[in-house]
């Protein structure tokens, strides 16, 4: 009985294998579904980041679909949790690219997860567009052959230069320290910041790191203080930064801090007045005067998620949300240019997008054959912001702007 079944199966397998060799299967792969797949942290310590991304994307898609969708079809959003683990991110990418057959994949927060996707995306021929993960190597691949990954976010290599310049301008003693978290994002920025410092003619007077979950950074802060550092470039997220501020407060150390965009409104909520005056590089600020488009975007989010978004201060990831908003709209533009739900055509269409978004005039958004310019947001679009009265404000709206 089992023997016969086996023979039949073996024969069919052999036949099928022969066919598979000759014909490229499956034909359906050429046409993709009108869906955007995203792999991000839905659960775990960075779940809120994922939530903010979801709020932005769902609102933007609702708006786009209300206007008739793209190419006459509504766009769907498919969300998978990667628990912050690269292997799961790859699982999810495969699911998005193969099982769901989505036309594009949207990026979550973590840099290593995006790095792990480089090869699978190229293999599947699945375009990826990121709105957060800022690691340089996500876009600038070591082999120089990034064809599928695009980003509407900051790029660490540019951010480091920007922050070093800001720090240099603010430091009285000229002694600048770098404090970074022990993650791929933090560690990845270290060579960039050193290069930027060299370029700017600054020597770093201290480099300190800590691990996710660390609760006390007294040792690091004492070392920086004793080295005479009066301005810190910070590369960390809310919780650990809050703990660092506590450690500074304890020893009465109050240097100026210019931070990468890991600091959000949640940081101010966690440390209260200690956040005052800390500067953050970002791409967008919702608490300042808003353009009509930005106001409309905020209103739409407020209307769709009334218990999450009440005021602009509830936009916990201000820059990332603006990035994602622009990215989705550019994606819709690119699809229109491509004229079909086809991944290769979509990829090529990205290079032809010219779009005026919340953050910048993207003209062009991306440049073919230049992987450095698979980043749509340029250093000149970066905006300095600062915490003031518990809010993250444009620097102009605070007392911390540069005055001479």
């Amino acid at each position: 009985m089992a023997g016969r079944l086996w023979t039949v199966l073996a024969r069919r397998t052999a036949m099928a294998a022969a066919v598979a060799g000759a014909v490229a299967l499956p034909a359906a792969a050429q046409r993709a579904e009108p869906c955007i797949g995203i792999s991000m942290e839905v659960t775990g310590p960075l779940a809120n980041q994922g939530l903010m991304l979801r709020i932005t994307l769902e609102t933007a898609l609702e708006k786009i679909n209300a206007a008739g969708g793209v190419l006459g079809r509504p766009l769907r959003l498919v969300i998978y949790d990667d628990v912050g683990e690269p292997a799961r991110a790859v699982d999810n990418a495969r699911r998005i690219g193969e099982r769901d057959n989505c036309v594009v994949m949207f990026g979550g927060a973590r840099t290593p997860n995006a790095i792990a996707l480089r090869e699978p995306l190229a293999e599947m021929g699945l375009p990826w567009i990121g709105a957060i993960s800022a690691g340089t190597a996500v876009i600038e691949h070591p082999n120089g052959k990034n064809e599928w990954m695009f980003r509407v976010s900051m790029k660490d290599r540019w951010v480091t230069g920007y922050l070093i310049d800001q720090a240099k301008a603010r430091s009285a003693s000229g002694k600048i320290g770098f404090v970074y978290e022990g993650t791929a994002w933090g560690q990845g920025a270290l060579p960039d910041i050193e290069a930027a410092a060299r370029r700017a003619g600054v020597t770093l007077a201290g480099r300190e790191t800590f691990n996710i979950g660390d609760q006390d950074m007294s040792a690091q802060m004492i070392r920086l203080r004793d080295a005479g550092v009066d301005t810190i470039v910070l590369w960390a997220v809310d919780r650990e930064s809050a703990n660092m501020l506590r450690s500074m407060d304890r020893i009465g150390y109050r240097p100026k801090i210019v931070s990468a965009w890991g600091l959000t409104t949640a940081f101010a909520r966690a440390v209260g007045p200690l956040a005052e005056g800390i500067m953050v590089a970002g791409t967008f600020n919702w608490n300042g005067p808003l353009s009509p488009e930005a106001q409309a975007a905020f209103d739409a989010m407020k209307a769709k998620f009334p218990d999450r978004i009440r005021t602009t201060a509830d936009m916990e990831q201000p820059s990332a949300m603006a990035n994602a908003w622009d990215a989705v709209h550019m994606l819709a533009e690119a699809l229109k240019i491509a004229g079909a739900y086809d991944r290769t055509r979509l990829r090529d269409a990205f290079y032809r997008v010219n779009y005026t978004g919340l953050i910048a005039d993207y003209r062009p958004a991306f440049i073919k054959g230049n992987q450095e310019r698979h980043d749509a947001i340029l250093a000149e679009h970066y905006k300095l912001q600062a915490f003031h009265n518990g809010m993250l404000m444009p620097i102009e709206a605070t007392p911390y702007g540069m005055r001479n």
């Binding site: 086996w6 199966l9 069919r12 397998t13 036949m15 099928a16 294998a17 066919v19 598979a20 490229a24 299967l25 499956p26 359906a28 839905v42 659960t43 775990g44 779940a47 939530l51 969300i79 998978y80 949790d81 628990v83 912050g84 683990e85 690269p86 292997a87 790859v90 699982d91 495969r94 699911r95 690219g97 193969e98 099982r99 840099t111 290593p112 790095i115 792990a116 480089r118 090869e119 293999e123 599947m124 690691g135 190597a137 070591p142 082999n143 022990g182 993650t183 791929a184 994002w185 933090g186 560690q187 990845g188 270290l190 691990n211």
Partner: protein, 617 residues
């Protein structure tokens, strides 16, 4: 125990399902599996390999590791680093990914498990954290938190190993072969003296030591094997993902691996595959629940543990046993002792007749302030039955424990077979020819009756681990011989019909018989019996007497600790009486029986003189 043929059919079906899976879409003419499903199955197979290793540790050896993901990571990084930094070929990298963690496992386990099994758990937790921390911080070597990217795609015999429709599925099949190999290793271990020794140490450390098993070495071996399989999984993973960083190998991943092991049913052969498949599939299927998926995962886990505390396979096996048990046939208990013809061959090892098999001089054992054995001089002649009696707490069992190496004497000497053996551990003494039973029978309860006796044969195997795993001729021959021997011993004690029964399910009297058969499997020159008659009926005691006499007649020396005076009178050549740790009488039984000090020690100070002096016979 799963029926043998059933197990083979299940394994064949598994192999068949894995084998045709990539081509399923062609057979059914659908777009399935895509590279997503293929990848899931490959990841599940890799995890399956790791979980099989963990099952050997948890299910066989009874040790718990919460650092298994780190060992997997060690394998993954060994493979990745050697490929990236040293340009090693794939096969060599894969071999290193097994050997490095296996060595690490041995280094971690050896000092730990000799102290307390629980400490291995603690050490593995710590190791996991240290490992992840080092990976993250040693940026120049491991790539730090960003990990190692662009690992070269593996090639074997000039073939690029891929797992796509376009390029072929050879990497998929390589992983499948590794999974089958891991299952083979698990199966071959389970049905060998090594696996039996692991399970024996988990069930009763004392009994295992008394049967000549080096518990520390056995546990270290179990952990090394399990670490090696974890490393193999890691090596395969690194070459599948072509990217590794610490986040795949954290503490929570270790917990997940342990959950897969227990959920499938630890100690069962199919459990690892089932547990891995179920939990891995669940984490994919629960994606739809968004921010509540982790909660649902925890709830599912708790639910399964409540419904099937022995895991899925364990629970199903129990259910099946229950259903099958309805029509269970009567088992025939044989009369015993039944000295079958082959038995004499098993009792050839003996001490020279007339020798002093055991001599103790000034033997003293103190626990804190209490002196349990006090300056005991004792001599036991070979081929005799020597009884050791005395009221409760007189120090009889303590003396036995010193002689068999379980307690270390505070002072005095022990000479066995003419050799000074003070401070030798039990397993060394067992190899010299000392076998013993325990006061509260210490059987390996979850092992079958036959397996219990086979554990007794442990020290008489020559086949190496490699020969055993490959099931080479020497191993097969030895296994056949030992099996025949074990069956013969079961016939001697009349338990032939119970060979396949779990030992814990035997009636009490049968458990005693089994314990003696197991001790005899060691082919001892000296047999120590600690209250073998306790709890036995009169008929059973008479059989026991016949057995002991039969053994002595064949030249075996027997030391008997016993309360049943009737039995002692019937069986012993000489009696030593202890009270409060000291020898109060020593001599032939008839003489001791009427010794006033003895009667007082037993019967009480107020014993009427008339009764004590008038023999009833």
């Amino acid at each position: 125990m799963i029926a043998r043929t059933g197990g083979w059919i299940a394994a064949a079906l598994l192999a068949l399902a894995i084998g045709i899976f990539p081509y399923l879409g062609d057979l059914l003419d659908t777009r399935f599996p895509t590279s997503y499903e293929l990848r899931l199955v490959m990841r599940a197979m890799i995890l399956g390999i790791v979980v099989i290793g963990l099952n050997i540790l948890v299910g066989f050896a009874g040790l718990v590791s919460l650092g298994q993901a780190a060992l997997m990571g060690l394998g993954a990084h060994a493979a990745a680093l050697l490929a990236l930094r040293a340009d090693w070929p794939f096969a060599a990298c894969l071999a290193a990914s097994v050997l490095v963690p296996a060595l690490m496992g041995a280094v971690l386990a050896f000092p730990t498990v000799r102290v307390r099994a629980l400490y291995l758990t603690v050490i593995t937790i710590a190791f996991g954290f240290v490992f992840v921390n080092v990976l993250r911080e040693w940026v120049s070597f491991t790539g730090g938190a960003s990990g190692l990217a662009s690992i070269p795609r593996p090639t074997l015999f000039g073939e690029r190993l891929m797992a796509t429709r376009a390029a072929g599925f050879n990497y998929y099949y390589l992983i499948a072969v590794c999974l089958m190999l891991a299952l083979w290793v698990q199966w071959a271990l389970a049905r060998s003296r090594y696996g039996r020794a692991m399970r024996a140490t988990a069930e009763s450390e004392n009994a295992a030591r008394a049967l000549g098993i080096n518990v520390t070495a056995t546990r270290t071996l179990a952990f090394a094997i399990s670490a090696g399989l974890a490393g193999l999984g890691g090596g395969l993973f690194a070459n599948l993902a072509l990217f590794v960083n610490y986040e795949t190998f954290t503490f929570s991943a270790s917990i997940e691996l342990l959950l897969m092991t227990i959920l499938g049913g630890s100690g069962t052969l199919a459990g690892p595959v089932v547990g891995t498949a179920v939990l891995f599939a669940a984490s994919q299927a629960l994606q739809g629940l968004q921010e509540w998926q982790t909660f649902a995962y925890g709830a599912l886990l708790a639910l399964v543990l409540f419904l099937m505390p022995e895991g899925i396979v364990g629970g199903l096996a129990r259910l099946r046993a229950k259903l099958a048990g309805r029509g269970a046939q009567e088992r025939q208990t044989g009369a015993w002792p039944h000295f079958v013809p082959g038995f004499d061959a098993l009792t050839q090892d003996r001490d020279e007749p007339g020798q002093a098999t055991l001599i103790t001089r000034d033997l003293t054992l103190r626990f804190g302030g209490l002196t349990a054995v006090n300056m005991v001089d004792m001599e036991v002649r070979s081929g005799t039955v020597h009884a050791l009696i005395g009221p409760n707490g007189a120090g009889k069992s303590s003396l036995l424990n010193v002689v068999s190496g379980f307690y270390r004497a505070s002072a005095g000497t022990v000479t066995l077979f003419g050799q000074a053996v003070k401070d030798q551990p039990p397993h060394v003494l067992a190899r010299l020819g000392v076998a013993r039973s325990f006061q509260n029978t210490e059987l390996f309860g979850r092992m079958t009756v036959l397996e219990n006796v086979l554990v007794g044969c442990h020290i008489r195997y020559q086949a190496t681990l490699a020969e055993t795993l490959l099931r080479l001729p020497r191993f097969l021959r030895e296994e056949r011989e030992r099996l025949a021997e074990a069956r013969l011993l079961l016939e001697v004690v009349g338990l032939t019909d119970f060979a396949g029964e779990q030992a814990r399910n035997l009636p009490f009297g049968h458990q005693r018989r089994l314990e003696i058969a197991r001790a005899l499997a060691l082919r001892p020159k000296l047999l120590l019996l600690d209250e073998p008659a306790a709890g036995l009926t009169h008929g059973e005691i008479e059989d026991l007497v016949a057995l002991i006499r039969g053994l002595a007649a064949r030249g075996m020396t027997v030391i008997l600790v016993e309360h049943h005076v009737e039995m002692i009178m019937a069986v012993s050549d000489r009696v030593t009486v202890l009270d409060h740790g000291e020898v109060i009488a020593d001599g032939p039984p008839e003489q001791v029986q009427d010794d006033r000090a003895v009667i007082e020690a037993y019967f009480g100070h107020g014993a009427p003189a008339a009764q004590a002096t008038v023999p009833a016979q």
